[in-house]
């Protein structure tokens, strides 16, 4: 509207004027879009550069690694490097250790979180609000404060150098997941509970048969986030594990650096392999995560 007033084009019929300004708007939008694409592509290129460089290095011959100027893409990609990385470093063993921790933590979360959230979402009892706030405040407690007392406790119980310190906490509910699941359960109409109750279901039957199946988006978040956190965790494993053979992949990878002479081509291959499970889970899960996370509604 205003553009028409600003530039009155004399000698044209109103219909022609409208068509012209529409065409101009379209051209303007096209230029804006092209500009955005250029900026985004450039940014994406910069963001992907470290990953690209890792992949490129992982396919090089030893003498190509320190060549100058460096080859961006190796002339003769050495796919055999990956096989060598697996035989040279105990990659498979470390990834297997991580996988066990991931599965155990996921089981712990799936067993504990829905039950605890059910208590917060569906029942009224004295001090519920206080307990909920207490639970929320534990989300803000940085993990390092727990390490010394827990180390002492686990040592007394003979659990140092076993995987239990890295698994047990999951069975008592992670506060972030409890919060998420509680919020999600609150969005499910209580009429469904009542209908099941009339059909003779008890409190736990309602949880198992009605609520848990409906909470699938939130449960997906629990599974995916647990996977990513446990796979990436570093501080707790280096403290609670001693034996090289029981290391998860994150710790194993960090220790390759010190224990082996660094052959960067193999090493970058190993790093890439170590992040592949995370990338695969992320690509498959990203569409399903939005629904589960939306219920938090980051508004105060």
């Amino acid at each position: 509207m205003r553009t028409d007033l600003a530039r009155p084009e004399l000698g044209l019929t109103p219909a022609q004027q409208r068509r012209r300004s529409a065409a101009r708007r379209r051209a303007k939008r096209l230029i804006a879009h092209a500009f955005v694409y250029i900026v985004m592509t450039l940014l994406a290129f910069i963001f992907l550069l470290p990953i690209f460089w890792m992949v490129s290095t992982s396919l090089k011959l030893p003498q190509e690694i320190f060549a100058w100027p460096p080859d961006w893409i190796p002339a003769n990609p050495q796919w055999g490097n990956y096989e060598e990385a697996f035989t040279k470093y105990p990659l498979a063993r470390y990834m297997f250790n991580s996988a066990i921790l991931v599965v155990a933590n996921i089981v712990g979360g799936l067993v504990s979180v829905p039950v605890i959230a059910y208590g917060f979402a569906r029942f009224d009892f004295p001090f519920k609000h206080v307990l909920f706030l207490l639970m929320l405040s534990t989300m803000m407690v940085p993990g390092h404060i727990k390490l010394i007392p827990l180390f002492w406790l686990y040592q007394r119980l003979g659990l140092i150098d076993t995987c239990w310190p890295l698994i047990l906490p999951a069975f008592f509910g992670n506060p972030f997941f409890i919060f998420l699941m509680t919020q999600y359960m609150r969005t499910i109409p209580r009429e469904l509970d009542d209908a099941a109750r009339i059909d003779g279901a008890g409190s736990w039957g309602i949880l198992i048969r009605i609520l848990i199946p409906l909470c699938r988006p939130a449960l997906t978040v629990v599974v995916v986030f647990t996977f990513v956190w446990v796979w990436n965790d570093f501080l707790e494993p280096i403290i609670f594990l001693r034996d090289y053979d029981s290391f998860p992949i994150s710790v194993g990878l960090a220790f390759f650096q010190g224990r082996y002479s660094v052959e960067w081509n193999l090493f970058m291959g190993a790093t890439l392999v170590s992040i592949l499970p995370i990338l695969i889970v992320y690509f498959f899960a990203q569409r399903h995560l939005i629904g589960g996370l939306a219920s938090i509604g980051i508004k105060g």
Partner: protein, 300 residues
């Protein structure tokens, strides 16, 4: 409490019992993984204790040493604060800009979203290893590219002055994580507000300052708190890349704590350090929270 209990009906009492039962795993977990460790750390911080013999009460000695004659305490606190001051504002602002770009209704944005989020899901160890290689002084990508335009790149992690900024740059690479949270906030802003502003003749710039930014402040606030806590806990990068060096330039607080506790087994002194970091993080959070009334805008 008891009088309250007596006033409840049978049904209410049964509900309350089920509720407490559902919460019991969390309550047990709270006692073991939060209440006990925090109280125990507090107690240990007044002792001298090397794990071999029982802790010996030494009163305020640990704190006196910390504040009066521990240059490492001062330098690690300085390094951590500097890291927070460098990375936090950049991450918040760049995350917002990235989110605004990703929020444009243009085909193909999903692909960009996926790309920018990838660094945020990769483990700290894998990222660190990738960046050691990426920022190699002589054959790394960055210095090679710089040499093309005639600039002699710095020694990055291996230079006393550049090590800390390098770690900060690396952490900014993970800005996609923040951008995704902003994006969720942006998509919660009702479209009719923009349409109304358009009709009133507000241009894009004004719409950003008058609508987008105020309505995004709750998300900004949430993000600020999360990133603040996270930045203070910087550890893995120092452990994997620099070992706190060169010349203690990246000897971050948590790394100092880790070495004191689990390398030197000065559990008493390390407990005092842990408690101090907890207090720093908590007071920073409370400070942000206190100021939030002035700049965080809630719709209702």
């Amino acid at each position: 409490m008891l009088s309250h209990w007596r006033k409840m009906t049978t049904q209410e009492r049964r509900d309350a019992k089920t509720g407490y039962l559902a919460l019991s795993p969390w309550m047990l977990g709270f006692a073991v993984f939060y209440a006990f460790p925090i109280l125990a750390t507090f107690y240990f911080s007044f002792t001298q204790w090397t794990l071999v013999e029982p802790p010996v009460w030494i009163g305020l000695d640990n704190y006196i040493r910390m504040f009066t004659r521990d240059p490492l305490f001062v330098s690690s606190l300085k390094a951590t604060t500097l890291f927070v001051a460098l990375s936090l504002p950049l991450k918040l602002v760049l995350g917002l800009i990235l989110a605004l770009l990703l929020n444009l209704k243009i085909p193909g944005m999903n692909l960009y979203r996926t790309i920018f989020f990838v660094p945020a899901v990769i483990s700290g160890v894998a990222v660190s290893l990738m960046w050691i290689w990426f920022l190699q002084p002589d054959t790394g990508v960055v210095n090679t590219l710089l040499s093309y335009i005639g600039v002699q790149g710095p020694y990055w992690f291996w230079d006393r002055d550049w090590a800390l900024p390098s770690v900060a740059i690396m952490s900014i690479w993970k800005v996609g994580g923040a951008a995704i949270i902003y994006l969720a906030g942006l998509q919660n802003i009702p479209a009719h507000l923009y349409e109304a502003a358009k009709i009133d003749g507000a241009n894009q710039w004004r719409r950003f300052w008058r609508i987008t930014l105020p309505l995004l402040t709750p998300t900004l606030f949430f993000q600020l708190i999360i990133e603040l806590i996270d930045a203070f806990k910087i550890f893995t990068e120092a452990f994997v890349i620099t070992k706190g060096g060169p010349l203690k330039a990246t000897y971050f607080f948590l790394y100092y704590f880790y070495e004191e506790a689990f390398r030197n087994f000065n559990m008493g002194y390390a407990s005092a350090l842990a408690l101090f970091l907890l207090l720093v993080i908590m007071s920073a959070t409370v400070f942000v929270y206190r100021t939030s009334g002035r700049w965080v805008f809630y719709e209702n």
